[in-house]
Symmetry: C2
């Protein structure tokens, strides 16, 4: 079984991104800038944000962090987002999830200007993805598509099964696979006879958020399996949504956890920031032309 590592993909794509980034710096006289909003003190969220900032530092993307206490109101956070939406030097904005209970996630997903929404969660971006109109797209599924391309795993005409329907992974991933001409099955907690359905797939994507949900009985011999989950077990070790040990002599390929999909997610966030910055540059150029 081939282990589909994320790092070689990130390494290959970083070179391209650096060219695009240098091009932006040359044209604009500044570096792209990401603004991160973090509410509350969930340790995992703070760790994610730290990793995102480190990744930005490595690439040469400016960033700023706006911290709110767990008791901050939606109005306070919204006011900050409005301010960041207006600021000309901010290219990308993200609101780290999870948010405290008082926040309505569907409302929050409409706060960030679509052109700056580097998580790709705004309904307009979701719609554009479904319709195949180019726009910012969610980082994890975008990373998965890049990983498939890097390892030359075709999906066109293949039966692709996505387990999970979150707005962050499952739904946008299904849309991307459909746009890439796959036949797509979307399963979820309401799916009866899960193994019967998943075991027909040529490529199986597991983004259920349930540790070790999927094992040998769910996987067709020779299938490719993409494991999007990451969970810390009581002994401190990490596992995915897939029982990797059961697939060793069974699947053709599997993304390891950690080290598979994970590294691509942060990379695609950086890629989105640079793309958002570039798109704004093009808009500025166009308005200057109009004014001239």
């Amino acid at each position: 079984m081939q282990s589909l590592l994320g790092k070689p993909v990130v390494d290959a794509l970083t070179a391209e991104l650096e060219v695009l980034l240098a091009d932006f710096v040359r044209a604009s006289g500044r570096r792209p800038r990401l603004a991160v909003i973090l509410v509350g003190d969930d340790p995992a969220s703070h760790l994610y944000v730290t990793n995102k900032r480190k990744s930005a530092d490595r690439l040469g993307i400016d960033h700023e962090l706006h911290l709110f206490a767990a008791k901050a109101t939606p109005v306070e956070v919204r006011t900050k987002v409005d301010e960041l939406n207006q600021r000309l030097d901010v290219d990308g904005i993200l609101i780290q999830r999870p948010l405290p209970a008082g926040f309505n996630l569907q409302e929050v997903s409409c706060w960030i200007e679509p052109s700056k929404d580097v998580d790709g969660f705004h309904p307009e971006l979701v719609g554009k993805l479904a319709l195949g109109i180019p726009a910012l797209t969610p980082c994890t599924p975008t990373g998965i598509m890049a990983l498939l391309e890097h390892y030359k795993i075709p999906v066109a005409g293949k039966l692709c099964c996505v387990v999970g329907r979150s707005p962050i992974v499952g739904k946008p991933l299904a849309a991307m696979l459909l746009n890439a001409n796959a036949t797509v099955v979307q399963c979820h907690r309401g799916t009866a006879q899960l193994a019967e359905i998943t075991s027909r797939a040529d490529v199986l994507f597991v983004a259920a958020g349930v540790a070790r949900l999927v094992g040998r009985e769910h996987v067709r011999p020779g299938a490719v399996v993409i494991d999007v989950g990451i969970h810390k077990l009581v002994d401190g070790s990490l596992t995915g949504d897939v029982r990797a040990d059961e697939l060793r002599d069974h699947a053709a390929a599997l993304t390891p956890v950690p080290g598979g999909v994970g590294p691509l997610t942060i990379f695609m966030l950086m890629s989105n920031v640079v793309q958002a910055a570039h798109a704004r540059l093009d808009t500025t150029r166009r308005s200057s032309v109009r004014k001239a």
Copy 2:
């Protein structure tokens, strides 16, 4: 095999819609108004528009038609749409498809204000549907969901297969089925071994736009089949995407063509106009409260 007629569904829903409509007229002092844009002289499009206007007349919805010659430019049509977007007395706008070759459909889908887009094609509406956020939704799949509800055909936990991935039917229908907790398979012209996949479905939706594409070999015995296609054969008779004659002693139920899904599509357009009008009323009420 049960024949799933559209008319009884429309009749049952019309009573509800009339209450909503009367409520709007009482609150606003006017009737809801639909503006239709028709470009070129495709006879089928003119017939569709006539049917929509007749349906509006029957219910008591005002309407106006803006005709453009086939050689009209996108800028001319766009200017009219902008004007209709601004007009306070226009609740719903639709641009009849197909449009002449010079029009970019993806761009056109962004012209109508989401709050007035009674076809539900705007990317923001597409995204809201995918995310389960209440908003205007495309008429044909909305009608299909109403038909399933009327005939008490459950989809939650069922394997539902959609053949077709158009932005008008296939994609929004898959989103609605997923929101209703179905396990959803989406097939299309790139699907290998179509019959093998469709013949597992509990409910099969055929919106491929190919006359008599689906027959006995594609359908599980006892399955429910929804035929969204309508085609005129050389002898003048109408047929769907399904070979209805092959399913008589095979499927549990089938929508006839004509008389199945068709009547629901126009009804749902009217329902969208009334809903759009109501939503604007609520907005007006809210702004008055704010001003007070």
